[in-house]
């Protein structure tokens, strides 16, 4: 099992959800995040004083998947999130040793979906 974590542009969330849905990935968790990457951020002035904003608004998605869904999930995220502009984001894949459904106590691949 893998844990797929993606940082994407906030306004792309619904597209990514749609793409995942089409790839038959129905379960995910979403967190609000700030990110700092190649995107340079921007300068504001508040009351005439400079203020550099380099932590931009991002959305973080976490999806636990079974091995065989890994690539399909990654592809779906890319399909939904890519615009070709800097700031599109990253996908990180970490190994997942165990998954448990709290309601039933199911474990392992059966508990993912």
């Amino acid at each position: 099992m893998k844990l797929i974590t993606a940082y994407i542009q906030p306004e792309k969330l619904s597209d990514v959800k749609q793409a995942l849905y089409e790839a038959e990935v129905f379960k995910l968790s979403v967190t609000n995040a700030l990110g700092c990457g190649q995107q340079k951020g921007y300068h504001e002035t508040y009351r005439g004083v400079d203020i550099e904003v380099n932590l931009l608004k991002k959305v973080r998605i976490d999806i636990a998947v079974n091995e065989e869904f890994t690539q399909a999930t990654i592809d779906a995220i890319i399909r939904g999130a890519r615009t070709g502009n800097i700031g599109d984001g990253k996908i990180l894949v970490t190994p997942l040793e165990q998954c448990i459904r709290i309601r039933t106590g199911d474990t392992g691949p059966a508990a993912i979906g």
Binding site: Y42, K57, V59
Partner: protein, 457 residues
């Protein structure tokens, strides 16, 4: 624990208060009334001056209340939008009032109330008229009357901000606001309140259902259409974009309602024996109540739950609707006018959705539709000229003609203005700016720094 150092302070203070105040407990004769005057007879001139004083205090208080409605508009509009566009709408709300005041000072008041022809006034720019009393016949000075009227002009200007919110360029808004407050509003106002052609036909619009609300509401409609919907609003089926701060919007509705007592009852500038002022206040209140309840029941029936935002729109709808006829209707007439307004605002908001016209705060349903309805309602429920009181349909005809003319005039002129801006300066911000929010794009700041807010749409 309250620190020691501090406790002595409190105790000492209480002591001082107690000691100093004690003698007062024993005996505290009230200050005497004004010194006993010789029984010199008073003249009618004295009475007139007193009446002018009452009227002036009344109109200044009423004008302050109408001014305060600007805060109400700001809060309602801000609350009904997403957080990322909040500074922008608040800024528009500030700036349109300021520029409306200025424009109305420099040209608007003169175009509206100056002697002229049936279409336009043309007298005394910069309010430097020769001595003379105000146009209302209440004996108050031009300054007082200007203040009251300028606040109305600001209200007409700010209605549009809500309908076009979330995607309109700030610069374009500035241009629009100058035009409406310097030209469009004063011209309509002259027709109806400044002795123009509609006034001469006995068209009746006591406190401005047409002059203020229909004008603002129609301008909002045409602007909204020319601007197009917010990005993501109509991908596939219509999507609701919920307001981000309902408590503040609800406060805004209360502020508007509060200010409306100045708006309507203040329009009866000559207080006289106060009967009309009181009647107007009562009608205003009861129409708003009926509008709110009617809207709640309507949306409850249609949508399955009593939606707060529609209920609030319903209260405003009732207020807009009763504005024209608050002086000439019985309270039952006011109840019906408000109730119909509350139903109408829900239905027309849903119709707009179906037509894919994206009016985030309901500017057109509230001010446009109900401005028109309220004006027509006089033809039905006016105790002195309404159809249902046995006075035939002639007043109704005049009302319809007047509303029709104003709607047409505003549609044409504001349509032209918005089109012109669209072709030259541009009406709409870039998609990128719209997605990130106009607060950052147009003003370089955020409304809720530090708060975690999802801006996923």
């Amino acid at each position: 624990m309250m620190s020691r150092k501090f406790q002595w302070l409190c105790l000492t203070l209480l002591g001082v208060v107690a000691i100093t105040a004690l003698p007062a407990l024993a005996e505290q004769p009230p200050p005497a009334a004004a010194a006993k005057a010789q029984p010199v007879a008073a003249t009618q001139a004295d009475i007139t001056q007193v009446n002018v004083a009452i009227n002036t205090v009344w109109i200044v208080v009423a004008a302050a209340l109408v001014f305060f409605m600007q805060a109400g508009f700001g809060m309602v509009e801000a609350g009904f939008l997403r957080a990322k566009n909040t500074c922008n709408i608040l800024m528009k709300n500030f700036v349109d009032y300021c520029s409306a005041s200025l424009m109305f000072y420099v040209v608007g008041y003169s175009l509206m109330f100056g002697g002229g022809n049936g279409f336009l006034g043309w007298e005394g720019f910069g309010i430097d008229w020769a001595a003379g009393t105000d146009p209302s016949g209440a004996g108050v000075s031009h300054h007082a009357y200007w203040f009251f009227q300028a606040a109305f002009c600001g209200a007409a200007a700010t209605i549009v901000a809500g309908g076009m919110a979330g995607r309109m360029k700030f610069g374009a808004y500035l241009m629009y606001t100058v035009v409406i407050s310097a030209l469009i509003y004063p011209i309509v106002g002259h027709w109806i309140w400044g002795g123009g052609w509609l006034a001469k036909m006995d068209f009746s619009d006591f406190a401005g259902s047409t002059v203020v609300h229909a004008t603002g509401g129609i301008a909002a409609l045409i602007g909204t259409i020319l601007l197009g919907a917010r990005h993501g609003k109509y991908n596939g089926k219509a999507k609701a974009i919920p307001g981000h701060n309902i408590p503040i919007a609800s406060l805004g509705v209360f502020i508007l309602w509060f200010g409306w007592f100045g708006f309507n009852a203040g329009s009866q500038i000559a207080v006289g024996n106060g009967m009309t002022v009181a009647k107007i206040a009562m009608n205003t209140n009861i129409a708003a109540c009926c509008g709110a309840l009617a809207a709640m029941l309507t949306i409850w029936k249609i949508g399955g739950k009593p939606d707060l935002s529609m209920t609030m729109n319903g209260a405003l709808a009732g207020l807009v609707a009763i504005t024209a006829g608050c002086d000439c209707m019985s309270s039952v007439g006011a109840m019906i006018t408000g109730t119909v307004g509350g139903v109408a605002v829900v239905l027309s908001a849903l119709l707009l959705e179906r037509l894919r016209i994206d009016d985030p705060v309901g500017a057109f349903p509230v001010h446009g539709i109900n401005g028109i309805w309220g004006t027509l309602a006089i033809g039905l429920f006016s105790e002195s000229s309404g159809l249902f009181y046995g006075h035939g349909a002639s007043q109704l005809g005049i009302q319809a003609l007047g509303v029709f003319s104003v709607v047409g005039f505003v549609l044409l002129t504001m349509g032209a203005v918005f089109l012109l801006i669209k072709k030259t300066y541009g009406l709409r911000v870039s998609k990128q700016e719209e997605l990130r929010g106009l607060d950052i794009g147009e003003h370089g700041m955020e409304s809720y720094a530090g708060f975690q807010i999802f801006t996923t749409e």
